[in-house]
């Protein structure tokens, strides 16, 4: 199950406080901060990879360079009579969406990094590692088995 980021869920729990804060705005704190006690296990966070979909990632890659070059080319530096109209703008739009497609690779890379960091955080517990390698159905079964044995 993934978190759908476009929707905002008013989850601000403090009276008269944060107003517009939603779960999604501070999701990384709920998942990656807070007290960890080594004798407790943590539930698997598999499926949490999709944290942000509109990520703008600055990485040293050809795709990033081209995206920046295109963005600069599109800048209206003069905002005077030289301003292009009509067709060039249309072309601009097309290259923009093209560039967005290209950045997707870098984006899933970042999601992977987030997932990795969660994985690292989990690795203190061997119990969790077992859970991670098993499929969700198997995980439920193993949990049940554990309870029965208790």
């Amino acid at each position: 199950m993934s978190i759908v980021p476009e929707q905002s869920y008013a989850a601000d729990t403090r009276s008269g406080g944060g107003g517009s804060s939603s779960l999604y705005d501070v999701l990384e704190l709920v998942l990656d901060r807070g007290l960890v006690i080594d004798v407790f296990v943590r539930v698997s966070l598999v499926g949490i990879e999709i944290l942000k979909i509109d990520a703008r990632i600055v990485v040293a890659s050809v795709d990033t360079y081209l995206r920046f070059a295109e963005a600069c080319n599109r800048l209206d530096l003069e905002s005077g009579p030289n301003k292009s109209t009509g067709l060039p703008e249309l072309v601009g739009d097309m290259t923009e969406s093209g560039a967005r497609g290209k950045t997707k690779g870098a984006l899933s890379g970042a999601a992977q990094t987030v997932a990795d960091s969660f994985r690292e955080a989990r690795e203190g517990s061997s119990d969790d590692k077992d859970k991670e390698t098993s499929r969700p159905r198997a995980r439920r079964t193993s949990t049940r088995r554990k309870e029965e044995s208790e």
Binding site: V39, F40, S44
Partner: protein, 245 residues
């Protein structure tokens, strides 16, 4: 059945009169397990618990509600103890350190600040501030034989400029807000923001902090800041010494 742990509070924490529901469907009632001067807010853990929206919200809501009426040490989402007794054992063994941290956190809240660039403004500054970039931009815009090569060069220079600006802005934000806070902590790195900082702020200074953030944004038109809080002190459950250790 395992026990889901939300937070550590004081044993005399005014839990609130209404029933608090936690993770699961339907939400399991939250109860306090007391040991000495401390208590843990827990509920029965549903079978096969995973990080679903409903349960993330429940986790956050329980901690937020507790935090409204006293200091809390929020647990990270998804902390499961095999049973209630193991929780009491933890409280018995490490109660001193938790009690001390609760004292230090009393009356304090976390604010989280994320910043992004208004890209058009930043790019415009980078292009107009550097003759070489300006020329490359003009040439690649016109096309030509080496356009692709020059476009890459342009992008490389601009990317470096953006990175430098991000580093400067990150330091600016931290230095501007740090004096209003008692502690700060870098948040997890997020792909889409240039910095993610959490600050521990005395509740009485919350309005000043909020004002400082909006002032900062007003003074720097290329920055877009998002402020979240007051939050329970997720990022400050350990003291600065413990965090650096």
């Amino acid at each position: 059945m395992s026990t889901y742990v939300y937070a550590i509070v004081r044993a005399d924490h005014p839990f609130g009169s209404e029933e608090l529901l936690g993770v699961g469907e339907p939400g399991a009632p939250v109860r306090l397990l007391t040991k000495g001067a401390l208590a843990a807010a827990v509920s029965d853990a549903p079978e096969g618990l995973r990080a679903k929206r409903r349960d993330l919200l429940a986790h956050q809501k329980v901690i937020g509600t507790l935090s409204d009426c006293g200091p809390v040490l929020p647990m990270r989402f998804g902390s499961l103890s095999p049973h209630d007794d193991a929780v009491r054992m933890v409280l018995a063994e490490r109660g001193g350190q938790y009690a001390e941290r609760l004292r230090e956190l009393e009356g304090r809240v976390e604010f989280n600040v994320k910043a992004t660039h208004r890209e058009d403004i930043v790019l415009r500054r980078i292009v107009s501030g550097d003759q070489r970039i300006r020329e490359l931009n003009a040439r690649t815009r016109a096309g030509g034989a080496n356009a692709q090569q020059e476009r890459l060069r342009l992008g490389e220079l601009v990317a470096a400029g953006v990175r430098e600006q991000e580093t400067r802005d990150s330091a600016l934000i931290r230095e501007s807000l740090r004096p209003l806070a008692e502690a700060d902590s870098p948040g997890p790195e997020m792909g889409d923001c240039l910095c993610n900082f959490s600050f521990l702020v005395d509740s009485s200074a919350a309005e000043d902090f909020r004002a400082a953030v909006s002032r900062l944004e007003k003074e720097h038109e290329h920055l877009e800041l998002s402020l979240h809080g007051p939050l329970p002190p997720y990022s400050f459950v350990e003291s600065a010494q413990q965090r650096s250790a």
